[in-house]
Symmetry: C2
Subunit: 214 residues, 2 copies
Amino acid sequence: MKLYGYFRSSAAYRVRIALALKGLTFENIPINLVPGVSQQKSEDYRAVNPQGRVPFFEDGAVAISQSPAILEYLEETFPEVPLLPTGTADRAVVRQLASLIGCDIHPLNNLSVLQTLKHDFDASQGAVDGWYHKWILEGFGALEALLANTAGEFCFGDSPTLADIYLVPQVWNARRFEVPLSAFPLIEKVDAACNALEPFKKAAPENQPDAPQE
Amino acid sequence: MKLYGYFRSSAAYRVRIALALKGLTFENIPINLVPGVSQQKSEDYRAVNPQGRVPFFEDGAVAISQSPAILEYLEETFPEVPLLPTGTADRAVVRQLASLIGCDIHPLNNLSVLQTLKHDFDASQGAVDGWYHKWILEGFGALEALLANTAGEFCFGDSPTLADIYLVPQVWNARRFEVPLSAFPLIEKVDAACNALEPFKKAAPENQPDAPQE
């Protein structure tokens, strides 16, 4: 299995966590998304993934982008360590938490979106930061309310699920943009519980080969 | 089953298509999202769905928002008319197409996003339209390229899948905002094939009880 990613990409980070939780080994191929380098636009990478985005995942005949699709594929193909509960009602709840992050928060805070705000709307860094904070604060507010009904040690009960796989990269990004998280005690508690586990540590941006040495 | 929706909401439209394709009957409860009316913010609706968004779906003990979660729930609970193919590789491809629309296009063109551009970035209607067109054109460009490898009569082969359920509402919205679609012949062809089917017609915005009478 090969994963084309970028240490700081939330969507690649999700896939790394899932692979690590399931104990799967894979080739981790960094694609440098930094503006100016933009390796995702290179001919070499376009030959692998014409859409030129990360993550891109290969497993034999399967070659797909889109982290939600990759994660469901991993769950169906390697069910031994499950990332979804058993019952359909519980699975729906976990997927709801994941989608809240994956659809309502993350797409609005993507690098290409922030750059469009700067270039096409002449937005100052302060205005872009305000945009970033707005979607995280709104989304985390909704998520915190849902977690009051679902969380145990993790987002749903006492073992990690797909919901935690979405949560941890989003919290990592929120901290990077200095979004205050004190209004979200359940989110902070679950994030801490996840980051105490080896698979989450292994998948963290700072532990990737393309992370800058501090 | 109850679906709280809005005739023009893409995400509610997706769920209506899935329910219709599976031949399921449900109570269709309109929530008027028009700015100024904003029924989603009413106390009555907040008592049903504290997050105050649509769609919101109820089936006995299951009460969830987020169309991707609702659609996977319907697929798991009512598998008789499948919306995903059988093999894991094929399922991954269909979910990739769906996520491209559900994560890369639709969240950026949501009503709340367009209003934020106007209010917080002082964007003109022309600039907002430019933003809207940009994400559709980029996303449809990527989708058209993928469809060259996957499409038959529909997005994936010759029967409707989850991918078509995402595509048709996005095309409907693109037309509403007058995005030129001539560069996407496969998208247009698949959209036409879908809209010739009774379940897609039944789910269309103009055929909902809350659509304005023309």
